[in-house]
């Protein structure tokens, strides 16, 4: 736990007074203090290319009056700096005449331990594993021309001080381990990438030489791609594998169900509450309470405990994801979805771990039901235009399906679809529900936050596949 006022000219009491004074006629707001430590160690091209350590400290002071948000942030925790921010907020909201909402939910539940993952494994041990990864892979396959592996570890301590002095705090560990390989054979080059991570120590993932399975998976994907043929172009049936391909759910419907876009009526979903937006049997939730998952949070960045929010239940739109601001303006409650990348940014309603729940069909049944289509197993990134509802994602491992059988691998192609209608095109929901490996980062308004996704295999009636083969 950080003591943010230690070694500053500002006492906690003085800070509380400035906060209460600044927010007195505002509807909401808080001082957010953050101290994060992160470490990155990268092996690339047979060498430890980079080892870096970052320590970041700062505050963000927010005041809200009706729909207007005033925000000011600085790295200097001092009387002068906080007063300057206060003046700044006051001048924006000089006509504020609201009543501060002191209500905030409380919970004792914690979804990860108070650990510093960076300190839990020595620098030398990390270097050794990276070198082992490099040697293991290069000795395994002669056509490997490049290996990149890295450790990213972080501990973020934060404290939220609300008007009246109420204080909420959290300490969040986060780690990620990635391996990327490039193969070259007969003049062709292809890459494969795989990683794991979440909110616990490196050893929870890497014990018993577990890193080998990460290497094997990266190598398997690269080898598959080396044999890939040009992807088809046009509309066809698509089978999505379980786990990480759920970024389809994240892009296609997740963003469109965030509170801000719906309050502003700029989301394609804003007038569909209570209506059927997906096939029967499709249930989608956004859950911040999963134990030690990458997208989990004990409290969100406004201090609200997170929860399991049902977004779509058996095809019917049930809830949007809300932060305090959008909840108040839409006359509903916060779902504990208020998040920010760090103290430099304002809070926005964001996803945590977004999941489609399992059904009862098998992946095999889905493949057999397709005459001509593709089977998408792994993806790179995705993106959505929430207004038109159109979304894309890029396959990094996919196969042709011909007459109910999986055929040759196809080159990376973009798939494009329409968010509000895609879930009505879901023909089968699988019984093989799976979480992603813990590697997702979601971008919105220039802010990246760690998220998770999960889904079973699903069969989609039609999507446009952006290949080159007509």
């Amino acid at each position: 736990m950080s003591n943010f006022f230690e070694k500053t000219d500002l006492s906690r009491m003085e800070a509380e007074n400035i906060i209460s004074d600044t927010l007195q006629k505002c509807d909401d707001g808080e001082l957010y203090l953050e101290n994060s430590k992160s470490e990155s160690i990268l092996l690339d091209d047979n060498k430890i290319k980079n080892s870096s350590y970052n320590s970041d400290l700062g505050f963000g002071f927010r005041a809200i009056s009706d729909e207007v948000v005033a925000y000011s942030h600085s790295n200097e925790i001092s009387k002068n700096s906080l007063n300057q921010s206060s003046e700044n907020l006051k001048s924006t909201l000089k006509s504020a005449k609201g009543t501060y909402n002191h209500e905030i939910l409380k919970s004792n539940k914690k979804y990860y331990d108070n650990i510093n993952p960076i300190e839990q494994k020595s620098f030398d041990e990390k270097i050794k594993i990276l070198n082992d990864v490099n040697n293991y892979l290069r000795s395994k396959d002669k056509s490997i021309k490049q290996v990149t592996a890295n450790f990213l570890g972080e501990q973020k301590s934060l404290e939220i001080i609300r008007s009246g002095g109420e204080t909420l705090s959290d300490v969040r560990p986060l780690i990620r381990f990635n391996v990327s390989v490039m193969l070259e054979k007969n003049g062709r080059k292809e890459t494969g990438v795989y990683g794991i991570g979440g909110r616990q120590s490196y050893d929870s993932y890497l014990k018993d030489d577990n890193w080998k399975s990460v290497c094997d998976e990266a190598l398997r994907i690269a080898s598959v791609n080396l044999e890939s043929k040009p992807a088809p172009a046009g509309e066809m049936k698509v089978v999505l594998g379980p786990g990480w391909p759920a970024i389809l759910i994240h892009e296609a419907v997740g963003h469109g169900l965030e509170g801000d876009f719906n309050r502003k009526k700029t989301s394609a979903f804003h007038n569909l509450m209570g209506q059927k937006v997906a096939s029967e049997g499709v249930t989608i939730i956004d859950d911040g309470t999963l134990d030690k998952r990458r997208g989990s949070l004990t409290i969100d960045d406004e201090g609200t405990p997170t929860e399991k929010t049902v977004l779509i239940e058996n095809g019917i739109l049930k809830n949007f994801m809300q932060d305090r601001l959008n909840a108040r303006l839409m006359k509903t409650r916060s779902t504990g979805s208020g998040r920010r990348e760090n103290y430099r940014h304002i809070v926005l309603p964001r996803m945590r771990n977004t999941m489609m729940l399992g059904g009862n069909q098998t992946q095999d049944e889905m493949i057999k039901a397709v005459d001509k289509g593709i089977f998408a197993v792994s993806f790179g990134g995705g993106q959505v235009d929430i207004t038109s509802g159109k979304f894309v994602f890029n396959c990094t491992e996919a196969y042709e399906i011909v007459n109910g059988k999986i055929g040759s691998p196809i080159k990376g192609a973009t798939l494009i679809g329409d968010g509000p209608s895609i879930l009505k095109e879901v023909l089968m929901v699988g019984n093989d529900m799976m979480m992603d490996p813990g590697i997702g980062t979601c971008g919105k308004a220039g802010q990246g936050v760690p998220v998770g996704v999960a889904q079973p295999s699903i069969l989609i009636n039609k999507m446009t596949v952006g290949g080159t083969k007509l």
């Binding site: 690339d44 290319k49 080892s51 870096s52 350590y53 970052n54 320590s55 970041d56 400290l57 700062g58 729909e67 207007v68 948000v69 005033a70 925000y71 000011s72 942030h73 600085s74 790295n75 700044n88 907020l89 001048s91 924006t92 270097i127 021309k145 490049q146 490039m182 062709r188 080059k189 292809e190 992807a231 172009a233 046009g234 502003k264 009526k265 700029t266 430099r344 304002i346 790179g380 993106q383 235009d385 207004t387 038109s388 159109k390 894309v392 994602f393 890029n394 080159k411 990376g412 192609a413 973009t414 798939l415 494009i416 679809g417 446009t464 596949v465 952006g466 290949g467 080159t468 007509l470």
Partner: protein, 438 residues
């Protein structure tokens, strides 16, 4: 106010001194301060004000051929002492890399030209509000526009780069940015589009009225889009998308991608990769240029490079580390390109539209579909169908795909280059790409 040079220099020399004292054979320090103030409007009303004051220090220490780095936003000496000690410890434990070093002394920038990158003018929030009111009024004039969001940001930055070979320099820069995002709706559809202007000097910023009108018109034109069939068709990239081809090109010729062997342009220097008429420049000393700089992020001098001359690749973008690996001298491109642009083509925008009886004009792409290892390209797109030089109707939910190797050879450029971003292209036509639709 952004911190002055003296404060930044003092911090930098403190860190260099301490690093040396603790056993570093060499060190490099960057201290940055950036203060920005933003006002956002939505539907003609104030929505958000945001002030940010960011201070940051990055230190790299070398012990012989070992290297490690730290960064922090806490510049209190107590904290810096702990971090530098930690950095030295980590450096000792990091394996050697024969290519690690500071830049060659003779390559360091000797004189720092004033490139006119800093405007001392300060725009108060109420003046920003006046600008945004005018902009939003123009943007929401048409009834089809149902939501407007606009933003005005003033940014002032200052930095110092110092290394233990005696380099110590830095300068202030400023930027003023206004943007407008509008949403239009009709019975069939809801669409979004935007317009934006960013300049070093306040007085050069686009007119508020113009900006709002442009954003609204571009959005309304997208309403009621159609999906077309899959086919091979000539594609015209609007300037705001065409510049992305240059960004991909720049990543593919970065010395890091080349030395790692992960670029489709490896070993292509002095080979023809574009058609004869294509020239690509990277010009760091453009006055008021959005990508201008006096030296790169290692302090190495930067000269203008003609990266592509009549279709032939002439240079990679080289930094010190990868340069040593490739046995080439740094050309001052650590941190990437500066003002990167395609030279003008020799036909007008209108003639470009008329080159084919039918083509697709792309105004937006989504997705991260550029693979610089293989050169494969596949992204989601929206735009317009162009027939006989005329815009016929808007199109969406399609993808466009090809391979950069073929695409680069088939580029035709119009003569309408403008310097709106740091990376710029005239309107671009590429033959032979595949559209996937229905």
């Amino acid at each position: 106010m952004v911190k002055d040079q003296e404060f930044l220099e003092k911090k930098a020399s403190y860190c260099l001194g301490l690093a040396k004292k603790l056993g570093a054979t060499n060190a490099n320090v960057i201290v940055n301060n950036s203060v920005s103030e933003t006002v956002n409007f939505r539907n003609k009303k104030l929505d958000e004000s945001n002030r940010s004051d960011d201070l940051r220090i990055s230190i790299t220490t070398y012990i012989g051929k070992k290297k490690s780095s730290i960064s922090s936003s806490n510049l209190v000496n107590d904290n810096l002492n702990i971090l530098i000690e930690k950095c030295i410890e980590t450096t000792k434990n990091t394996p050697e890399d024969e290519f690690n070093s500071l830049p060659d002394r003779d390559l360091l920038a000797k004189e720092v030209k004033d490139l006119n990158l800093y405007d001392d003018n300060h725009i108060e929030n109420n003046q920003k509000i006046d600008y945004l009111k005018k902009l939003e009024a123009a943007a929401s004039n048409d009834k089809k526009i149902i939501n407007t969001e606009s933003s005005f940001t003033q940014n002032k930055s200052n930095f110092i780069l110092a290394n233990s070979d005696g380099f110590c320099d830095g300068y202030k820069t400023s930027s003023f940015t206004a943007s407008s995002v509008t949403v239009a709706k009709d019975e069939q559809s809801m669409e979004r589009d935007y317009e934006y202007s960013s300049k070093c000097f306040l007085k050069d910023l686009d007119d508020a009225d113009e900006l709002g009108k442009l954003a609204a018109n571009q959005t309304i034109q997208k309403l009621s889009p159609k999906k077309i069939g899959s086919e091979k068709i000539a594609i015209i990239f609007d300037k705001r998308i065409a510049k992305g081809m240059l960004s991909t090109f720049a990543s593919a010729i970065s010395s890091s991608a080349i030395s790692r062997g992960t670029s489709f342009l490896k070993d292509k220097v002095n080979q023809k990769i574009f058609s004869d008429k294509i020239n690509v420049f990277d010009k760091p000393d453009m006055l008021k240029g959005l990508g201008s700089r006096s030296f790169d992020s290692e302090g190495v001098k930067t000269d203008t490079l003609k990266l592509v001359d009549q279709g032939v690749l002439k240079h990679y973008l080289i930094d010190t580390y990868n340069g040593k690996k490739l046995n080439l001298k740094s050309n001052g491109r650590c941190g990437g390109t500066s003002n990167l642009y395609f030279g003008n083509g020799n036909i007008s925008f209108k003639d470009l539209l008329n080159l084919n009886s039918k083509s697709l004009y792309i105004t937006e792409t989504i997705g991260h579909g550029s693979n610089i290892v293989t050169g494969d390209y596949s992204v989601g797109a929206t735009g317009f169908l162009v027939e006989n030089g005329e815009f016929k109707y808007p199109i969406n939910e399609i993808t466009i795909a090809g391979n950069f190797k073929d695409m680069f050879e088939n580029i035709t450029l119009a003569n309408d280059l403008e310097f709106k971003y740091a990376t710029n292209s005239p309107t671009m036509l590429i033959e032979g790409m595949v559209v996937a639709g229905k």
